[in-house]
């Protein structure tokens, strides 16, 4: 067992250049209570279309009875978006329902009425995961519908070369989020198992759990668990100083001491990242054969009497969780899903928990700064050192505002992780992240348009060639038919060629057939199914 600390020199150097921010911490409230299971809600909602994911197509209809863990919907391309029933019950509707996205939009949603029995489908647990081949582990993980939010994660293993290092990201730097911390406090052993399984699946030589230093209780739990399970020697814990945000790239740098070339595309980085939720879900999927049916969600905010971390069933409406925490509706000002810096405002209590719902904040009036009118950019450059990626937010802002796509690409808008650090420090309250998201949407629309038009022009060209081929064939066959009317190739090709003698023969044959049939009809009258006879009688 080793407790590592990040190389202070390299991390501090990186941190000086791209400082990030240190927003006030709001973690204590939800950490007072332990991780809780929740009672079953009456109705659960499973949205089929989520922003940035392939739409899933329903495999069940209203009226069907389903079991816990049954696949309800899947995207056409296989594993990108799998929706499982998180309890047993009856599908009551496929209807439009508020879904968790920043636009307050509705979308096709399967609605499940719980029957309270929580009956499972047949599971196929694997007690001895160490003996499973890596491919089997991966297919178990894929079938479990584990949501992949890390860019260089699970979904790309098949293409990646063998990674050197597996990093479990337990940093959780956003001010309100405590889901990972609460989970590690009570389930450190399971996390270690999950990490071991992931390591086996991706073939990484080392595995490091990265965690920030203020989570002392979680670090202690990890430490104890590591000591108890002496055989898992490959797993180490690394402690980083707390700071918001720590990007994937900085994390890889800090953990490896900058040895892995991070400029390379993700598949070749040599480092695989996974977050705590993913790791726990992997453990359940491989050992118990369970799909991902719940996630730990922090429910907090000043309107709640008892903020908590829940092991929330997917599909639970957030209103149900808020009620369990004793929400004071009078005082509610804003409802936010996700962290306070990267989250978005919800417009309905019926929005369900999905695989990426880390946190729900029911904020009281005055908890978040009131929205103020943005001023003009005074080019104070306060935003520059705050950006963890090393972008120039003030220039990006001008580029997006003036819709200069060349500048957006040149200033690497795509590398922005939308962390909100720049907007947090901006003295003029410019909603920088919103601009950057809009800019990214412009770029992605543009890229899609180009892709589409290339595809269409290919199709157009293919059709033109097909028509030319058809014409050539028809012309060629006509010429040949004059020279050699009985060419068998032509008959094979299905193209009709006209020949007077053959036509006469065919007509004569048809007449003979009809006469034959009439004679037969005269002999045996009981043939009701003969169409010719029916028509005439």
């Amino acid at each position: 067992m080793k407790l590592l600390f990040s190389n202070p020199v390299s991390f501090a150097a990186a941190a000086r250049r791209h400082r990030g921010i240190n927003p006030p911490d709001h973690k204590q409230a939800s950490l007072r209570s332990v991780l809780m299971d929740m009672p079953l809600p009456r109705l659960l909602y499973f949205p089929l279309c989520l922003t940035g994911k392939e739409p899933a197509y329903p495999l069940v209809k209203p009226g069907y009875s389903v079991l816990k863990g049954q696949l309800l919907a899947a995207s056409t391309d296989g594993n990108d978006n799998l929706v499982h029933a998180s309890t047993s019950g009856r599908i009551v509707a496929l209807a439009s329902h508020p879904r968790p996205d920043p636009f307050g939009s509705n979308g096709e949603t399967l609605i499940l009425e719980a029957d309270g029995e929580d009956r499972w489908i047949a599971l196929h647990p694997a007690t001895d995961w160490q003996t499973l081949p890596a491919t089997e582990i991966r297919s178990r993980i894929c079938r479990a519908g584990i949501d992949e939010r890390n860019d260089c994660g699970l979904s790309r293993w098949n293409h990646a070369r063998q990674p050197e290092i597996l990093i479990i990201n337990a940093l959780e730097t956003e001010p309100y989020l405590t889901a990972d911390q609460a989970l590690i406090r009570s389930h450190a052993k399971e996390l270690l198992t999950g990490a071991g399984i992931l390591q086996l699946a991706c073939g990484a030589l080392r595995c490091i759990i990265a965690i920030t230093s203020e989570k002392s209780d979680a670090i202690a739990a990890l430490y104890t668990a590591l000591q108890e399970s002496g055989q898992q020697a490959g797993i180490e814990v690394m402690v980083l100083p707390p700071r918001y945000p720590i990007t994937d790239r900085q994390l890889i740098d800090a953990v490896t001491g900058g040895r892995v070339p991070v400029e390379q595309p993700e598949s070749e980085r040599g480092a695989v990242l996974a977050d705590v939720t993913t790791t726990m879900a992997v453990r359940d999927a491989v050992i118990d054969g369970r799909p991902m049916l719940s996630r730990v969600t922090t429910v907090c905010g000043n309107t709640l009497r008892t903020p908590k971390n829940f092991r929330a069933l997917l599909g639970t409406p957030v209103g149900f969780l808020l009620e369990l925490c004793g929400i004071d509706y009078q005082n509610l000002d804003r409802l936010v899903m996700g962290g306070s810096l990267t989250g978005f405002t919800l417009h309905s209590f019926d929005v369900p928990i999905v695989k990426s719902s880390t946190c729900v904040i029911a904020a009281a009036a005055g908890e978040f700064p009131a929205p103020v009118t943005a001023g003009p950019c005074i080019r104070c450059d306060a935003c520059v050192p705050s950006c963890p990626v090393g972008l120039l937010p003030q220039n990006l802002y001008q580029a997006v505002k003036n819709e200069r796509q060349d500048l957006m690409t040149g200033l690497r808008l795509d590398d922005c992780i939308e962390c909100g650090a720049c907007a947090y420090v901006c003295p003029d309250h410019i909603p920088l992240v919103q601009y950057f998201r809009a800019g990214k949407a412009v770029l992605s629309r543009e890229a899609r348009q180009i892709e589409l038009s290339e595809y269409r022009s290919k199709r157009f060209e293919a059709r033109r060639q097909r028509l030319a081929r058809d014409t050539a064939m028809r012309r060629g066959s006509r010429r040949r038919s004059v020279a050699r009317p009985e060419n068998p190739d032509i008959q094979d090709s299905g193209l009709k060629t006209f020949s007077r003698t053959r036509a006469r023969e065919e007509i004569a044959a048809a007449v003979a057939r009809v006469q034959q049939r009439r004679r037969n009809a005269g002999k045996a009258t009981a043939r009701p199914r003969d169409p010719d006879q029916d028509g005439r009688s």
Partner: protein
């Protein structure tokens, strides 16, 4: 020349002739090469233009598809004849061809959001007329059987609507699932108004 011996005179005449012929041949070659070169350049340009066109292949520009219009553009046709591309395409074309930006010519149609065709399958009589009209082979069907549109392939060009004898083809808005539709924030109040004030002052002076 008078004092020259006869064979030398012949020789110089012959040389002149050879030089003249060689010169002519060279000039002819040069002309051909120049012609080819300019054709090639025109080809390159029309390919570049074609990449800017939306490839809806609807023929509203008056040509039989985007590539022919691109060729016409390389030859100097007006840049405002493509309604599916709209203002955005006009801007791009103006940039590439260094011509002034103009408004879309309404005689060719108006710009509208992307759409795709949908066949009401229970009404289709299977006449295959729509298949023959579709420029990108986006319709699937066989004689006397139901036809349907492959949504992924359809460009929304509307060419299949007119030939259908039972009017069972509709154009529906293109579905946009999973795509983020972030909007730009409201224009920040201070900056725009103050710059307008400044502009007004400067123009007024």
């Amino acid at each position: 020349m008078v004092g020259m011996p006869v064979p030398a005179l012949w020789l110089s005449g012959l040389t002149l002739l050879v030089v003249a012929i060689a010169g002519l041949v060279l000039a002819w070659r040069l002309c051909r090469w120049l012609g080819r070169e300019s054709r090639r350049q025109r080809q390159d340009l029309s390919e570049q233009i074609n990449r800017l066109l939306p490839q809806t292949q609807c023929g509203q520009c008056g040509y039989s598809g985007c590539a022919p219009y691109a060729q016409a553009l390389a030859g100097g046709d007006a840049i405002n004849r493509c309604p599916p591309g709209g203002e955005r395409t006009i801007q791009r074309l103006a940039e590439l061809l260094q011509r002034p930006v103009v408004r879309l010519d309404p005689t060719h149609g108006i710009e509208q959001p992307a759409r795709i065709a949908f066949i009401h399958e229970e009404q289709c009589i299977g006449c295959t007329k729509c298949i023959q009209a579709c420029p990108v082979d986006a319709i699937l069907g066989a004689p006397k059987f139901m036809h349907t549109v492959i949504a992924r392939e359809c460009t929304g060009c509307e060419l299949c609507v007119e030939p259908c004898p039972v009017d069972c083809i509709d154009l529906l808005p293109m579905p946009t699932v999973g795509e983020p539709h972030w909007q730009m924030p409201e224009r920040d109040f201070l900056s725009s108004s103050s710059s307008e004030v400044r502009l007004a002052r400067e123009v007024g002076r």
